[in-house]
Structures are given as structure tokens and as C-alpha cells.
């Protein structure tokens, strides 16, 4: 049970962060299918910091630097989506898909290149990076809490306040619902959509690091983040684009995802189901939920539609 809670928290934090990211992007009117890729790139950058500077810097500085790096990298990478989707008004899904593929390719090439040079060029380099993840983890009683858990709670509360209590939130939401209306009262729709996408980049990048680092100390970048970014999209839809509902959805999905990890070591092993079956579960669950919730979806009205000042 403790194990279940541990893994649930681990995944819930990731899904929450990334789904909140997706929420900001979609609330501003841009579908962010590139979350998967943003997570990979953000995680990659953060892990590189750990692998390169681990032991050379004081622990708190190292942790902070790795987190900031993953956030900033995620933001920069998301600019590629913003540029194509907002400035060039390109198809948001295609642009996002390209970024997902690009992210994995970049991750593999750069990690292999790195391993190749450090291993004196013996050729068959792997795409794995090894690092020390202990500075990120705190033990509280029987449960281990990682630093991302604390960050996620803070970000959740801030997101809700930002979205519903500040004028920036009001403006961001207006851009996703009715950009022409926003434009007519002097709100710069392009700028707010950029903001939405870049915030999602920051949270996606952070989420990538939160996915990779706390659970293991070696990561094979050939798998990217193994679909976590896509699950976060489902979490966001299930959470109806609202921060606290997203938090609930994240926990729900995380339970399913955790089952795969603990199946072998608990009573569930008696069922004789393999890891593959548990791995499928969150995806199947999200399909069922989507089928039932789609009828009364509260998706931002203008999401996915490029805003064109000329057309009105």
C-alpha cells in the first residue's frame, strides 16, 4: 500500500504539472500536442545538468540549477510550437507531432554523442544517462516525498489564482474562448497565446524532469517519456481544463499507472497479469472516460483555430 501511494504521488505530480501546462496552452487557444516532446527535452536538459555537474556543485544549487534548466529549456522548445501555430498559423497538431518526433531524435543523438565522447569513442554508445537523484528526495516517515511534489502543490494553487483571480487570467481565457472579442478590447491575442504556450513549455519541461529523476537513477532516452505527455493531455481533458479537477484526474490516472510498477511485488502478482496489462490500463481508462465525457466537454471554444486578425 505504501508502495502504491509512493508511486501514485510520483506519477500524479508529473501528470498534474504537465496537464496544467497543457491547460494554459489550451486556455489561450493553442492545442499543445507537443507536451510529450517538451517533457523529453526539458527532462533531458535537467538530467544533463545532473550528469555533468553532479558532485561539483553544492547540492541545493545543483537541484535548483537542474530544475531551472529544465524549465527554461521547455520554454525555449515550446517557442517552436508557438512560432508555427501562432505566428505562421500552421496546423497545431502537425506542428506538435513534429516536435514530439524531433524531441526524441534530439535526445538520442545528443546523449549518444555525449556518451561517445566521454567513452573515448568506442562507437556503440547507448542513449542512457546515469545521475544521482538523491538530492531530490526527502523521507517523511514511511513515505518518500520528492521536491517536485512540493513544487506541484504550489504551482497548482498559483495556477488557479492566476487563471480566475487576476486580470492576466481573464485575458488569457478570453483569448482561448473568443479571440476577436479580446482583440476588440485591445488585448494582444498573439502575445497571450505565446504566453500560454510558453507557460505550458515551462511546466512541461519541469514535468519531464519530475518524471525521469525521482524514480530511477538511469534513464534511457530512446523511449522519450513513454507516453506520459499524452496521458497528461487526457488528464487535462478529464479535468475539464480546471486546475483542481485536473489535480483529481491526475491522482486517478496515477493510481492506474502505479499498478504497473507494483504489480510484481504485491498481492496483485497472484492475478498473474503481466506488466503490459497494467501499462495499458491508464490508456484504456482514459478512452472510456473520454467517450463518456466528450458530450458535455467544456473545451475552450477557440482552441485549435489559428487567430487571424484579418478574418472577422
Amino acid at each position: 500500500m505504501v508502495l502504491l501511494i509512493k508511486y501514485t504521488l510520483l506519477y500524479a505530480v508529473v501528470l498534474l504539472l504537465v496537464a496544467l501546462g497543457g491547460m494554459f496552452s489550451e486556455r489561450s487557444g493553442v492545442i499543445n500536442i507537443a507536451l510529450e516532446g517538451i517533457m523529453t527535452i526539458g527532462g533531458l536538459a535537467g538530467v544533463f545538468v545532473l550528469a555533468l555537474l553532479g558532485g561539483k556543485l553544492p547540492t541545493p544549487v545543483l537541484v535548483a540549477l537542474s530544475i531551472v534548466t529544465s524549465i527554461v529549456t521547455g520554454m525555449i522548445y515550446s517557442l517552436l510550437l508557438a512560432f508555427s501555430a501562432i505566428t505562421l498559423k500552421a496546423d497545431q497538431t502537425i506542428g506538435g507531432t513534429a516536435l514530439n518526433m524531433l524531441a526524441t531524435a534530439i535526445a538520442i543523438v545528443s546523449v549518444k554523442a555525449f556518451n561517445n565522447s566521454s567513452a573515448a569513442g568506442n562507437g556503440a554508445a547507448s542513449a542512457k544517462l546515469t545521475y544521482d537523484n538523491s538530492p531530490f528526495i526527502y523521507k517523511i516517515g514511511p513515505v518518500t516525498i520528492n521536491i517536485f511534489f512540493i513544487l506541484a502543490i504550489i504551482i497548482l494553487v498559483c495556477s488557479s489564482i492566476f487563471l480566475f483571480r487576476t486580470k492576466w487570467g481573464l485575458r488569457l481565457r478570453a483569448c482561448g474562448e473568443h479571440p476577436q472579442a479580446a482583440d476588440s478590447v485591445g488585448i494582444n491575442v498573439y502575445r497571450w497565446r505565446y504566453a500560454g504556450v510558453v507557460i505550458s513549455g515551462a511546466l512541461g519541461g519541469l514535468g519531464g524532469l519530475a518524471y525521469i529523476v525521482p524514480s530511477v537513477s538511469t534513464w534511457n532516452f530512446e523511449v522519450g517519456v513513454a507516453g506520459a505527455g499524452f496521458l497528461a493531455l487526457a488528464v487535462m481533458i478529464f479535468g475539464q481544463w480546471k486546475p483542481y479537477r485536473i489535480a483529481g484526474a491526475a491522482v486517478f490516472f496515477a493510481v492506474f499507472k502505479s499498478l504497473a510498477n507494483i504489480a510484481d511485488s504485491t498481492a496483485l502478482a497472484n492475478l498473474g497479469w503481466s506488466k503490459n496489462i497494467y501499462s495499458m490500463m491508464p490508456f484504456i481508462a482514459s478512452m472510456i472516460i473520454l467517450a463518456f465525457t466528450s458530450k458535455n466537454s467544456r473545451a475552450p471554444k477557440a482552441e485549435g483555430i489559428p487567430y487571424d486578425k484579418g478574418a472577422r
Binding site: 483571480r165 487576476t166 474562448e177 472579442a181 478590447v185 485591445g186 488585448i187 472577422r312
Partner: protein
């Protein structure tokens, strides 16, 4: 005062690729007046106002405010100059409250957070002062069109706008709401606001405006004092010739019944009530029956249920003696029903298909155009060429023109050609002249009458009173989903028709004539 003009737009010219939307237009707005801007669809009214509001930049010409030249590069500049606009399609966020919509863009804050208390008080004060009744906490999606418009007006007042632009504000309102709006506008002018009022409705101009500027085909025709002019004169200036406000046609000679609608009820998609409530009537050969009513009273839902685009929840449809209640769109079409849809871009055309592909949209499956599932391209081309010739559809490359590149009038002509050439027993035409110029409107009216005269039934759904009065042989008025009157256009005045449309008067409507 040295200059009593608050806004002057002098010699404005605006060119778009291939078209001069405004050609040397001058408009001078006095402080505290209601100034109407009159012109037909496509006369350049909206372009001119968009220039004033900073949405477009003029190709040449100058804008002065209080005698000083100003440059309005975007809506923000217009806001800064206290120019506000109620757009024809409201710019309101549906899932926001009235108050949120009013403050959007000029949000009052306290520290980092929104502070709506003061804003609410100000809105309520403005609302009292000008008689603009709104519920500040209601969501836009839940309130009436009239209240949405009042929200838009409050948006301008909240920003202390002095110049208020109203773009076709009455198009979506009931007569009562229109009357109320007229009062509000007079009130605003009395309080010193200057109002620009875009319209093509002469009655409204005569009622509220002080002066009127007329545009025709992008050109400036003149500015007149309303007290020195008449409707007829304004109308002449608008269209450039005396308009015969009637369509030449012989009296109708109705024959047997083609369509019988029995107790039709259609659920609404936007609210929990029914959009169409238990209506019954019939349409006979050789007559044009018109369903009149203000936009949003269930006409669209009725047509969608009739043609099969949506399902009705109860009732029966009898077409030429056969029950077609549950027939599919294709079956109804095969049985002899043609449909000129309300929205030609949404339903009527596949804009990225060529003209010939659109011409066979309802018939591509017929043996004439396909063999064993393969389209007969030559037959399609020949058919399309014939329709283009016969119905005078103009386009760049004839049958192979992509429809998106055609003008609205010719797109509509293509639809009409397609639907009429199917030789239908019943032609359902929904707002067939919307957004078209006078020539095209005349042409379409003639086609409808010709259908009737060849012994076919025509069911016309229209929002334009003139069209209703001139074209139809029998009028059915729809109000809140019910038929509230059956009228003879020859024996009724427009005013009386208006009373029915506004729900102020109602009769029993016989299910059959």
C-alpha cells in the same frame, strides 16, 4: 465653439486587392448627434467604420478628432480616443459573466488580484443612468440578445467612450427591443455622446437620426438632414434609382397539396425548451409560402428537421402523399425536395471543390454521372457547363474554378442552379438573398416566382420584411417556435406583420388551406 465636429473622416479611400471599398468618402460627425450611415450590403459602410475603429488603415485620406489630425492604427488607439463600437456580431465571451465582459481589457485590480466591487458599482450606476438593464453576474450564454447588446453598450460607457459606433444594431432584435434601443440611443445623445449608426433600414433612420450620410458602391453620395428629407429620397440615394418595391408576378394558382407538416416538434440545441412547438401547415403546388419571423424563433430548426439535417422529436411529414417523417436527407432529395440552405458556406457548397463538383453535389450518385462507382467526368463537365450557361453563373475558369474564389452572388447562383435544375416538387429556400446585391436579389426572386408558375411548390424562409411582402403568396409567421398567424400579403401592412412577428398579435393557424 470653433469646431463642432468631434470626428471628421476626410476623403477616405481604402483599396483592397482588386476592389476599392471606399472611394473618397467624407463623413463628419457632430458632437451629440445621431448620425446614420446608410448604404446597401457592400456599399462600404463596414469598411469605413473599421477604419475609424483602427481595424484597417486607409489607403489615403485623413481622420480628424476635434479638429486635430489623428492616426488610429489599432483598436487600442480608438479606445484611447474614446471611440467605441458595438459590432454586428457581438464581441462577447460566452462563458464569462456580463461584468467580466465589461471590464475585460481595463480590469480594475488591487495588488495582483482582480477587484470587481468598484467596477460592479460603476456598471450599476451607468446601467441606471441610461436605462440599460443587465444582470452583472449572469453568463452571456444565458441572457437574451437584447441584454447582450446592452452589455456591449455598457462596455463602451464603462470606458468613457464619447463616440459610439453601432453596426447594424437592430438586425437581431425584436420590434420591442428595437424601440427600446432607439430610446437608449436618444438618451445617450442627450447626455452628449456622439453616435454613428450603421443601417440599411430607412424607418429607423427617420425615427432617431439627426443626419444621414449615404454610401453607394464605396462612393460618397451625400449627407442630408433627416428633417429635410423623406424615406423615398433616402432610398433613391441609397440604390441610385427608383426602386420598385414589388416583384412582378401573376396571382398564384394553388393546386394540390405537396407538403403536409403535422404537429412537428423539434428540440433545441441551445436550451432545454423545444425550438419548434407543434406546428402544422401545408404547402400547395403553384404557391410561394413564406415563413416569416425574427431570427432565432425556430425557423432554422424547422428547416433542418424538414430537410433531414436534424431529427424532430414528434410529428409527421407527408410529402406527395407519402410519409417521409423518418426519411434520410438523400431519400427526401430523391423524392423531390430541394433545399437552398441558410448558410451557403457551411452547408451549401464544398468551397474547395471545383464548380462542376459542386454542381453535382446532390446528384453525383445518379446513373447519369457515375458508372459502377466511377464518376463520369465528361458527363459532369457537360452538365455543369450547361447550368453555368443557363443560370449565368460567372467564374474565372468556368467549370474548373475552385468555388472558394468565386463571389458570393455567383456562389449563391450556383446553388440555386443546382437546386432548381433538380426539378424539385418542393423548393425550400432559406434566406436565399442574404448578403447579395440588388441585381442578384432580383434575379433570385424571379427564379422563385418562375418555379411557382411552373406548378411547383416553394417554401421560402425569410427575415427580410420586404422580401416576405413582395415574393410570397401566403405568409406564416413564426414566433418562439410556434406559428402565430397566417396572412395574405395583399391584405396586410408591414406594421401589422411586425406585430405578429413580435408576438404582440396571434391567430389560430389552420393546418390546411
Amino acid at each position: 465653439m470653433a469646431n463642432d465636429y468631434i470626428i471628421e473622416m476626410l476623403n477616405i479611400t481604402k483599396e483592397f486587392p482588386g476592389i476599392k471599398a471606399n472611394d473618397n468618402v467624407t463623413l463628419q460627425l457632430r458632437r451629440g448627434e445621431i448620425h446614420a450611415l446608410l448604404g446597401e450590403n457592400g456599399a462600404g459602410k463596414s469598411t469605413l467604420m473599421s477604419i475609424l475603429f483602427g481595424l484597417y488603415q486607409p489607403t489615403s485620406g485623413m481622420i480628424k478628432m476635434n479638429g486635430q489630425e489623428v492616426h488610429i492604427n489599432n483598436p487600442n488607439d480608438a479606445n484611447d480616443l474614446n471611440i467605441g463600437m458595438v459590432h454586428q456580431h457581438f464581441k462577447l465571451v460566452e462563458c464569462f459573466s456580463v461584468l467580466d465582459n465589461i471590464v475585460l481589457g481595463v480590469e480594475p485590480t488591487k495588488g495582483l488580484f482582480l477587484e470587481k466591487k468598484g467596477a460592479r458599482e460603476r456598471v450599476m450606476a451607468l446601467s441606471d443612468k441610461y436605462g440599460l438593464k443587465v444582470d452583472p453576474d449572469a453568463l452571456i450564454s444565458d441572457i437574451t440578445v437584447g441584454m447582450q447588446q446592452r452589455t456591449e453598450i455598457l462596455k463602451m460607457l464603462y470606458r468613457d467612450n464619447d463616440v459610439l459606433i453601432f453596426d447594424e444594431p437592430t438586425a437581431v432584435l425584436t420590434p420591442q427591443e428595437i424601440e427600446e434601443l432607439m430610446k437608449i440611443m436618444k438618451n445617450l445623445a442627450k447626455e452628449g455622446k456622439s453616435i454613428l449608426f450603421i443601417t440599411h433600414k430607412l424607418n429607423e433612420i427617420m425615427e432617431v437620426a439627426d443626419r444621414c450620410t449615404i454610401l453607394r458602391k464605396g462612393k460618397y453620395i451625400g449627407t442630408v438632414d433627416i428633417k429635410d428629407t423623406t424615406k423615398e429620397e433616402l432610398s433613391r440615394m441609397m440604390v441610385g434609382r427608383d426602386v420598385s418595391f414589388s416583384v412582378d408576378k401573376k396571382p398564384a394558382q394553388p393546386g394540390e397539396t405537396v407538403l403536409k407538416v403535422e404537429h412537428m416538434t423539434v428540440p433545441s440545441k441551445v436550451h432545454s425548451n423545444n425550438a419548434v412547438k407543434d406546428i402544422s401547415f401545408n404547402v400547395r403546388r403553384g404557391e410561394i409560402v413564406c415563413i416569416a419571423g425574427i431570427d432565432g424563433n425556430g425557423q432554422s430548426e424547422f428547416v433542418q428537421a424538414l430537410t433531414g439535417l436534424e431529427k424532430m422529436s414528434s410529428g409527421k411529414l407527408i410529402f406527395e402523399g407519402k410519409d417521409i417523417t423518418n426519411a434520410t436527407i438523400r431519400e427526401k432529395s430523391k423524392a423531390g425536395m430541394s433545399h437552398i440552405p441558410e448558410d451557403r458556406h457551411k452547408h451549401g457548397l464544398v468551397l474547395d471543390y471545383t464548380l462542376e463538383q459542386n454542381m453535382v453535389l446532390q446528384r453525383y450518385w445518379e446513373p447519369e454521372f457515375q458508372k459502377a462507382g466511377f464518376i463520369k467526368n465528361k458527363a459532369v463537365r457537360a452538365y455543369s457547363d450547361r447550368l453555368i450557361e443557363q443560370y449565368d453563373v460567372r467564374s474565372g475558369q468556368g467549370s474548373s474554378t475552385v468555388v472558394r474564389s468565386m463571389s458570393g452572388g455567383n456562389q449563391q447562383k450556383a446553388i440555386i442552379a443546382r437546386e432548381i435544375d433538380k426539378d424539385p416538387e418542393l423548393l425550400v429556400a432559406v434566406q436565399p438573398t442574404r448578403g447579395l446585391d440588388v441585381g442578384a436579389i432580383e434575379y433570385i426572386h424571379k427564379q422563385l416566382v418562375a418555379q411557382r408558375d411552373s406548378g411547383k411548390a416553394v417554401l421560402l424562409v425569410s427575415l427580410e420584411l420586404d422580401e416576405v411582402m413582395d415574393v410570397s403568396d401566403r405568409i406564416l409567421v413564426m414566433y418562439e417556435g410556434e406559428l402565430v398567424g397566417q396572412l395574405d400579403p395583399k391584405q396586410i401592412t408591414v406594421e401589422e406583420l411586425g406585430l405578429y412577428m413580435a408576438g404582440a398579435k396571434r391567430d389560430e393557424v389552420p393546418a390546411e388551406v
